[in-house]
Symmetry: C2
Subunit: 202 residues, 2 copies
DNA sequence: TAATATTTAGCACACCCATGCGAAATAGGG
DNA sequence: CCCTATTTCGCATGGGTGTGCTAAATATTA
């Protein structure tokens, strides 16, 4: 697939290197061949981004169905595994994360990519929120938890941790990443949203 | 300053647009003039990154001295303000965050930038850890907290939240960002590292 | 087989890029 | 003023890029 070629080039040399020429060479095709399917450079990138979003969503959602379905004793472990899908714990997830960051960052200055990036982000955000809600419904989390905010907080944590682990791998070995997830889940389990607001005043 | 020109161009059009020509035009100079100071394109970018790191560190550390010094009654509020320096709550912080993300991402495929990016990241990470440690020493946080891990977790949260807020501003209004910070600090205050590990087994 | 559609390939163009180099302008010290 | 050092400038070169367009090759259908 030509999308794979884009992904390889972007992963290896960054999005700015994803020229028609480089992609064509990586795919073993001629420039004109690629341009037969994509009328312009933007369309190629949009397609590659769509394909990325499709794969990530598919993989993570498949993982999610295991946990969101019926109640199970090892829910906690499955939850950790699900969240671990957002982190670069192996080469596959590392590359997917790199791709996502490259495209998402590029979307800031390339309006053509923005819609697709937004959609992908939303899908994953919803998944995280659902996971939190599911854990709450299963009784593992305090009932008074603000699921929306906690979902956003958890997603932000995963995103930031994944980002840093990609940029500075030596500083964030897999075990440290897992420990951070565990700590966060622990704090969710043990903390109610509660009445902290009064205490907070002083 | 020529560094400002780089920053403006990168903020507006992304790092890939920071060519000698664009930067020179933004600075009101000729290409050759810039090349008199920087022997190549890489050196220009490295300098701009150094300058960015310097400014960010300076600003955030100045904010930090207020809080790390003596004990004060309104420590919680100052802590929130300090952490808010990592989020795009106004135009200045927004732009600084954009610059940081652009450079940090580029450092992945440009070894020339990696050292400087690493150093800047480390400085800020240390600051966050010190903040957590300070809060712990001041008695606001449980004594059995793992300061290192909590510092990393907090920094990851800030980084991820900042990233998403930059990419999808409409989804992350300032008040939501502040609420996430408050929630996180609340959870830190109320959660011990404790003996969750046994419960976790099942 | 013959005619047609689909896919692949390659060339030409105009544009932007980093860099090398020498000339022009400006500033500073004698 | 003159001489020198510093700074600014612009041209030339070689390479990369997206895109328009046409020709060739292949597959599909009649």
């Amino acid at each position: 697939m030509v999308a794979d070629a884009v992904h390889v080039v972007v992963t290896r040399n960054g999005l700015e290197a994803a020229s028609l020429r480089n992609v064509a060479e990586e795919a073993g095709l001629a420039i004109g061949s690629i341009r037969h399917y994509f009328t312009g450079h933007d369309e190629l990138l949009i397609f590659a981004l769509q394909e990325l979003g499709r794969r990530v969503s598919e993989r993570v959602w498949a993982h999610a169905e295991t946990i969101l379905g019926e109640a199970r004793a090892d829910r906690r472990r499955h939850t950790e595994d699900l969240l671990a899908e957002f982190l670069p714990l192996d080469a596959a997830r590392h590359d997917e994360l790199v791709l996502w960051h490259e495209f998402a960052m590029a979307a800031r200055t390339r309006p053509a990519l923005l819609a697709q990036a937004n959609e992908t982000h939303q899908i994953l955000q919803d998944l995280v929120i659902r996971t939190v809600r599911g854990a709450q419904a299963a009784g593992g989390l305090p009932a008074d938890l603000d699921v929306e905010v906690e979902g956003i907080r958890l997603r932000a944590l995963l995103d930031g941790l994944g980002m840093q682990a990609v940029l500075f791998p030596q500083r964030f070995p897999p075990e440290l990443q897992r420990e951070v997830i565990r700590r966060h889940l622990d704090s969710l389990v043990r903390t109610g949203a509660g009445d902290v607001r009064e205490e907070r005043q002083q």
